[in-house]
Symmetry: C3
Subunit: 468 residues, 3 copies
Amino acid sequence: MPLTDPDRLFPVEPALRGLARELYRSVADLPIVSPHGHCDPRWFADNARFPNPAELFVIPDHYVFRMLVSQGVPMDALGVPRTDGGAVETDPRAIWRLFARHIHLFRGTPSALWLDHSFEHVFGLDRPLSEATADAYYDHIDACLAEDDFRPRALFDRFGIEVLATTEGALDDLAAHRAIRASGWSGRVVTTYRPDAVVDPEFEGFRANVARLGEMTGEDTTSWTGYLDAHRARRAYFRDFGATATDHGHPTARTENLPPQEAAALLGKVLSGDFTPEEADAFRGQMLTEMARMSLEDGMTMQIHPGSRRNHHAGVFASHGRDKGFDIPGRTDYVGALKPMLDAVGMEPGLTIILFTLDETVYGRELAPLAGVYPALRLGPPWWFFDSAEGIRRFREITTETCGFYNTVGFNDDTRAFCSIPARHDVARRTDCAYLATLVATGRLGENAAHEVAQDLTYRLAKQAYRL
Amino acid sequence: MPLTDPDRLFPVEPALRGLARELYRSVADLPIVSPHGHCDPRWFADNARFPNPAELFVIPDHYVFRMLVSQGVPMDALGVPRTDGGAVETDPRAIWRLFARHIHLFRGTPSALWLDHSFEHVFGLDRPLSEATADAYYDHIDACLAEDDFRPRALFDRFGIEVLATTEGALDDLAAHRAIRASGWSGRVVTTYRPDAVVDPEFEGFRANVARLGEMTGEDTTSWTGYLDAHRARRAYFRDFGATATDHGHPTARTENLPPQEAAALLGKVLSGDFTPEEADAFRGQMLTEMARMSLEDGMTMQIHPGSRRNHHAGVFASHGRDKGFDIPGRTDYVGALKPMLDAVGMEPGLTIILFTLDETVYGRELAPLAGVYPALRLGPPWWFFDSAEGIRRFREITTETCGFYNTVGFNDDTRAFCSIPARHDVARRTDCAYLATLVATGRLGENAAHEVAQDLTYRLAKQAYRL
Amino acid sequence: MPLTDPDRLFPVEPALRGLARELYRSVADLPIVSPHGHCDPRWFADNARFPNPAELFVIPDHYVFRMLVSQGVPMDALGVPRTDGGAVETDPRAIWRLFARHIHLFRGTPSALWLDHSFEHVFGLDRPLSEATADAYYDHIDACLAEDDFRPRALFDRFGIEVLATTEGALDDLAAHRAIRASGWSGRVVTTYRPDAVVDPEFEGFRANVARLGEMTGEDTTSWTGYLDAHRARRAYFRDFGATATDHGHPTARTENLPPQEAAALLGKVLSGDFTPEEADAFRGQMLTEMARMSLEDGMTMQIHPGSRRNHHAGVFASHGRDKGFDIPGRTDYVGALKPMLDAVGMEPGLTIILFTLDETVYGRELAPLAGVYPALRLGPPWWFFDSAEGIRRFREITTETCGFYNTVGFNDDTRAFCSIPARHDVARRTDCAYLATLVATGRLGENAAHEVAQDLTYRLAKQAYRL
C-alpha cells in the first residue's frame, strides 16, 4: 500500500473526482516553476550529498520542529542550532527517533502530506514512519543520500524543476550563484534581490549594512541619491545572476511617497541611529515605493509580503535567533497602507507587484478588490501557514469571484525543505484542479476553459508574472 | 448547447442536487422584488431603446470594465467617460471587440454567469462570446435592441419584476419618477431616499447642497431644527413617489447620539466649512441616529452600508471621477460604532434598520450577533463583491446559526446593469436552495420547512423588510 | 418519524457518510467530559425537580430568548427576570406558548438541533414543537419533570456524564459543592476558579469584592503580596472542591508583566477607585500573567476567553442586568496582547493555558500559529456563537493544518441549559467525525489514525488538558 493516495485532495463525489483527476492528469507532469523560495544555492554549486535524514527533514524545517516544540519537546533535543553557544543534540539518529516518536502530531497537516510524499516518491518508502520504523527509515534514507542520484543536482533534474529562484540579501556576493554558473551545469537557478537588511532601520546592523552597501557599489550611501543608486547597482548585479524579482518582508504593508528632500532627511535620521519606530516604519514604506519605481526602470517583479510579527518569544530569539518558527502573523491593512505607492505607480501596466498575506481576512475585503482593478497588482499564492489544501481552497473560493484567475500568479513553494518542493507543487496542482472541477460541475466554467486555466495556474502565470 | 447549465450552482452529489432542484423549481418563477438598486428611472420614463451593446454591457458596469483595467486595458479604450474632458473611445463596436477579446478574464467570476445568463435568456444567444463571435454578438444584440420587445418597459415585464426601487439623492426632483407615474404605465418603480450629499460634510459641494435643501423645502437649513425638518419634508416627498426606504453609504458605521444643542453646534461647524475630519465623521454619525428617529416617525426602512474606501486612486478620481471601480472595502467595526444609535432606538420593534457590509469578517463576529438580538436590526444580503455564489454561501453558513433566516431580508441586486437583474436573482435563488438542500440532507431542517424558507428568502422577507 | 435524523451532520456523499457514521459509532457512547460550563451546582446538591418547561428551556437560555427578542418579542413576556423590579410574565405555560409560536425562527440554528435532541432523547417526544403542539409538549414535559428519573442527578447519570465542571466566582463559599460532597452522591461535579470580580477593577463592587477576598483569606489584600496570597488561598480552597482549572473572561487578551513594584502601585491605584480605563486594563493584563504563574505553582489549567463586549444595550442592562444575550463579540488581538505573558511563561511545558475566541478571524492568523509553537498554549473549542456544526467545521478546517489536533482540547459545552449537554456533545462528535471522514476520503489521514483521533477529540484531550 502506498503512503500517498493517488486520488488525494480530490473531491469525494465520483463524478467530481473524475473531473478533477482528468484535469490533474493534464498538469501533473508539467515542469516545476519555483519563482520564490529559500533553497541554499550552495547545494547546487557544490552538489555535495545531504548529510543525514535529520539535517534534511527536521533541523532546517521550522514547520516540522515547531510542532514538536508546541508539545513540549525542547528545541535543543531536536538539534536546532543555538546562537548563544549553548549545546544541542548532535546525534542525527537520536533526533530522527524523537521526530518519529511524535509523528502523530502532524495528522491532518500539510507537513504530513509533504513528508509522506517525499518518503514515498523521493525515497521509495512504503510503510508509515513511526517509532517502530524510525531506524529502518533512517538507515534507508541515509543510504540513499550516499548515492549520486540523491545529490542536489540529480534531485533537481528528477523533480522536473525548470527554474528555481533562491533569495539572497542585498549584500550577498552571490558566490554560490557564480559557482553554479562557472560549473557549466545546465540547471536554471536564479537569485532574488532581498534588501531587508539595508532598507529596514530596525534590522540588526542596519547602519553597518548600509555602509557595506556603499563599499560594494562605490556609492555614497549616506546621500539619498547615492543610496538609491547603490540599490540600482545591486539590482543590476543580481540580474546578472538571473534575478527577475525583488522580495520585501516588512512588518506592515505601509508605503510612503515623500518628496525627495523629506526622504533624504529621513535617510539621514535612520542612519544616525537616533530614530523612532514611526520613522523606521516610514522609511521602510518609502523604500517600497522607491523599489517599485526602480522596478519600472529595470523590469524586475516586486514581491511584498507583510504582516509577520517576527521572533515572538524574546527568550527563544535570544537563545536561538531568527527563523525558529516564532514568526506569528498579525492583522494587516493593505487598502490604506498601499495607497501612496499605488497613487504613484499602481496604474502602470508594465509593472508587476505581487502581494502576499498572512492575514486571510484581507483576501476578499482588500487584496482581490485591489488586484481586480490595479494593473500593477497581482496576488501571490497562499503562503506560509496557508500553503495547504484548505488554505489554497479558501484562497480560490474567496478571490476568484472578485479578481479572477488572471490576477494571480500560480504557485510558490517558498521553502528551504528541498525534498518537499515536488510535494508542495503537487498539493497546489491537485487543489486547484479540485476547485476547477467544482466550477465545471456546477456550471461555472466550461471544461475546455478549465483545462486551459489548469495549465495557466500550474505553469504559464508564474512564468509570466516573474518574467522567467 | 446552452450557455448556462440548467443545474448550475446546485450541489454535485445527486441526492443533494435533486433536493436543490426541487426547492429551486418552487421559487424559480416567483416575481422579482428588487428593493435596492441603481437603475436609471429615465429608462422607464422614456422607454427609449438602449443605444448599443457596449453601452448596455460594458461602459456602465464597473464590475466589467475594472477587470479589463486590472490587466492593463486603458479605461479610455473602453469608452468609460472622463470628467476631465479627455477623449475616450466612442466606437461601440471597437469597445465591444476589446471586451470580447478579454472575456477569459471573467472565468470563475459572477460576471461570467450574469453575462452568459443575459446573452442566452435575454438575447437568445447560444455560442460563447469570444474574439471570433464578437461581431456576430454585436450585430445580434444591436438588432434586438432596435425591437420594441427590448425596450426597458418590455424587459421589465419580461423579467417578471413586481417592484423595482431606484436610488435618488435628496436633492433630486424625481422628474423621472413623476414622468413614470404620469405615463400611466403599470410597472411599479419606486425611489429611495439617499441623503449622502446633504449629510456628509466631506461630500463635494456639501454647503451648497444643504443650502439647496433649504430652498427646496422652505426650511432654514442653517438651524438644526430647520435642517431636520427639511429632511422630513424631502422624505415625505420621496414617499409620494413610492419610497419606503432610505439608503446611507458612509465610510464607517459610526453613530452618535448627541444632545440637541451639541448637534446644532456641530451643524454650524460643518456648515462653516472649517471643520476637522473627526467632526465630519461625528456629524455623519449623528445623522444616522436622526434618520433612525425619523424612520420611527414615518415608517421608512433604513439601509446602512458602510466601509467602502471610495476613489482609491487619486489619479483616476481626478481624470474619471466617482464610481469607476476604485472603491475598495476596508475593515469595518459595527459593535462599537452602532452602540449610540442602538442605545437610542435599537429595541424598537417598529423600526427596521438593514445593515450591509463589505467586510465579511463581521458576519459572524458582529452582524449576526447584533441582528440576533436587536429587534430593529436586520442583515442585508451579501453585497457588491460578495453578491455571488460563494459570497452568498459564506453569508448563509456564517450568519444562519446565530441569527437564523428571519433576521435577513432576502436578496438585493444593487445594480445599474439592467439585464443582469434576472441573472442575479437567479444566482441568489439557486445558491439559497443549494444551502437549504444541504440543511435538509444533513438533518438540520425539515423538507417542508425548507420549502417555506425558500419562499421567504425569495419573496416574502424582502416585501416585509422594505414594506413593499 | 424521529425529530432527529440518525445521520444528521454527516456528509451527504454516501461513501463519506459511511465513513463518518463508522467513526461516530466508535465515540457516540463515550462518557461526557464537560470541563467548562455554567450549570448550577445546587441542582446536584438539592436534586430538586426542575420547576417547569419554561424554566428549563426558555428563561435561563439566552440563545433561545434572544432570538425571540430579535423579532420583537418583549423579554418581559418571556419571563426573563428584571433587576429593576419591573413585572414580568410569571405563567410558565404562557411563556411556553409564546416560545412555541416562534419556533420557526430557529430554523437552521444549533438551538433547533439542541432542542429537538432534548425533546426526543430526554423527553421521548416525536412530533415537532409548534403552536399546535405547545400545550401537549408542556404537559408532557411537566409530567416528566415530576418523576424522579428527571431530577438532576438521574439525568446526570442518564446523560453519561463522567465529570462536570461548574464555574464559581472567587468569593463563592462553594456551599453547593460542599453539599454535593456531603451527600455522598457519586456524581463528579467540580468547581472552577473564576476571579473576574476581584481582578477586574471595572467589575461592579470591585473594591468591596477585594476587601471581602481579604476577609475570607485573612490576607491584607491592599498589599500586592497579600492580594496575590489571597488568590493562592482561594485557588487552594477551590482545588479542595475538585477545581483543576481557572477561567478568565476579559474584554481583551491583554497581558502585562510589570515589575512587582509597579504592579503593587497599580493595585493601589485601582483600589483607590481613582483610575483610568487604561489602568484597569493594565491591571487585568497583569493579573493574567500572575494567574499563569500561580498555575505553574499549583498545576491548575488556565482558560482565557477574551473579546466579548458585554451588556451592549444600556437600557437592557439597566432593566435586566448581565447575561441577557446582549454580549456581542468584537475584534480581538492575541499576538501582541499575549506577548508579555508568553515571554514570561509561554515556553513552560508544565503549564496549560487554553485560549478561546469569539473572533473567528484569529483562528488561522493568530491562534493556530501561536498554539502550534508555544508549549504552554492550547486552543479551546469553538465557543458561544460558534458552538455549532458550521462553527466547528470552520475551526477544524482552519486550525488543524497549522497546529494539528493535539494542540486542541476536545469539546466544552459551556452551557447553563442542562438538557442540551448531551445534544451539544453529540453535535461536536458528529461534526468532528464528518471532518475526519473527509480527511480519510481525501487521502489526508489513515483510517486507523482517524479512529484514534476521534477518541482523542471526544475524550482523551479534554481529560488531559484539564487534568481531570
